[in-house]
């Protein structure tokens, strides 16, 4: 079943040389329960694309349809409700630095109006899921990058989302930590049947957990398909370039 459907999405920004299109007429869809990757070099429009999916960026034209509802047609209040069901994690974690880990995880429930006692109990459960229960009373500043990202994942889970958007979620982490975060994402994808859309510039992130991949170049879709097939027979220069810079395992195994 289609969870997210994007149709003719266009988003432009004012640049030094007039309007430049960050995302230029893109259409694709994401199936329910799938881990969908978007890869591209920096400036390819990935961040803009993922921000359009929960209307953090307002598209200039085109449709975003989630569970059959066109986000454009939703009223402000309905959109807010819908957003609560779309979790998001970021490269820089974006945790509230003046709140404890537990209170960070409680935050989305606070927004949704969940009673404090229930919120705390649930937050502890989610911290347990990400393996950080013992850090509940710590402040984010005392945590490592990987731990911070795990708190961010627990926070995203706290809203009981159906979709999680990952904006370069592992790009600030070392390879080992990246692996543990990716495994955690895969686990929550399977355990909670959460659809994940992740954007990255790292091939191995895609290879590790994505079912399908969209290769973005200059705001347009260069390629889209199953990860293995797409990476094994790159059709476009865009993907070939990515494969070379990314030192992909697939590519290395082919050449060796």
């Amino acid at each position: 079943m289609e969870k997210i459907k994007v149709e003719h999405l266009v988003k432009a920004f004012d640049g030094p040389e007039g309007k430049t299109r960050a995302v230029s007429d893109i259409s694709f869809s994401v199936e329910e329960g799938e881990v969908f990757g978007v890869i591209g070099l920096s400036g390819a429009g990935k961040s803009t694309l993922v921000r359009c999916l929960n209307l953090l960026e307002k598209p200039d034209s085109g449709e975003i349809i989630i569970d059959g509802d066109n986000l454009k047609d939703l009223k402000e209040k309905e959109l807010t409700k819908r957003r609560q069901k779309i979790g998001m994690i970021f490269q820089n974690y974006n945790l509230l630095m003046q709140r404890t880990v537990l209170d960070n995880v409680c935050f989305p429930m606070e927004i949704a109006g969940v009673k404090k006692k229930i919120a705390r109990k649930k937050a502890l459960e989610y911290l347990n899921t990400v393996g950080l229960k013992e850090k509940a009373k710590a402040y984010p500043a005392t945590l490592s990058g990987g731990q911070k990202q795990r708190v961010a994942i627990a926070r995203a889970l706290a809203a009981e989302p159906e979709i999680i958007l990952c904006d370069e979620a592992t790009s600030a982490l070392d390879p080992e930590t990246t692996d543990t975060i990716l495994k955690l994402l895969k686990q929550i994808n399977e355990d909670f049947n959460i659809t994940i859309v992740l954007i990255t510039h790292e091939m191995r992130v895609i290879e590790e957990i994505c079912d399908r991949v969209l290769v973005l170049e200059e705001g347009k879709i260069a390629e889209i398909g199953e990860v293995k097939e797409t990476f094994e027979s790159p059709k476009t220069v865009a993907l070939k370039r990515l494969l070379l810079t990314g030192q992909s395992d697939v590519l290395l195994s082919e050449t060796s």
Partner: protein
């Protein structure tokens, strides 16, 4: 005048009046200045809800109020002060112009504290479906809390300075004593003692503010 109980009483009274003026004016200064500071931070072009017209007008008014020298403001406000508290002199009469002088200053300090909040955290809150109001209260004011507290300390210090100035035109407090006894009556000793008390007061305010703001800051 000898250093005796009369002098001590005089100083204590002055200290009391100064503290009343400074704290009440700062309080009302925040009642007026905090919302204006939030408005400036929110409507600026990188803010939560950019609104160039509202920002420019507020910015302009704040700048105008800040450009008027305090003594001039004090005199200009005499009719208004009389209307509000019934008198334009002494401790009570000084609170009104002090508040009016403090508010735009406080608005700027609040604005700059709020602008230091990481835009990424604000974006994260938006992605969670937080309303602008929730973001202002829980994210902006919450995350900026230690900066805001430093701001309160700076405001108290600045208003303490202004309050001493008000002594020149019939305000109460330590400034008044320094001018009446020390300057007009050539009792240099009293002037120096008064200034010393003001110095100690400033040190206590700043020191306490620094300790508290460090204590509530969990970013490090």
């Amino acid at each position: 005048m000898e250093f005796n109980s009369v002098l001590i009483n005089l100083l204590l009274e002055g200290l009391r009046d100064t503290l009343i003026m400074v704290f009440i004016s700062t309080f009302f200064g925040y009642v007026l200045g905090l919302p204006v500071g939030v408005l400036l931070a929110v409507t600026d072009k990188t803010g939560l809800r950019p609104h160039p017209v509202v920002y420019k007008i507020t910015d302009f008014v704040v700048n105008i109020l800040r450009s008027v020298p305090f003594l001039i403001l004090l005199i200009l406000l005499i009719p208004f002060t009389r209307f509000v508290v019934g008198q334009s002199y002494d401790t009570i009469g000084t609170i009104v112009p002090l508040t009016i002088a403090a508010a735009p200053f406080i608005a700027r300090i609040v604005e700059s504290s709020l602008k230091e909040v990481d835009p990424g955290v604000i974006e994260a809150a938006r992605s969670m479906g937080a309303s602008n109001w929730t973001i202002i209260v829980k994210v902006l004011l919450g995350e900026a809390r230690s900066g805001l507290l430093v701001g309160i300390t700076i405001s108290l210090g600045t208003i303490l300075g202004y309050s001493a100035m008000a002594g020149a035109v019939g305000g109460g407090g330590l400034g008044d004593i320094a001018i009446r006894y020390g300057y007009y009556r050539y009792e240099t000793k009293i002037m120096l003692i008064t200034v010393a008390v003001l110095i100690v007061l400033m040190q206590i305010l700043q020191g306490t503010g620094n300790i508290l703001s460090k204590k509530i800051d969990k970013r490090k």
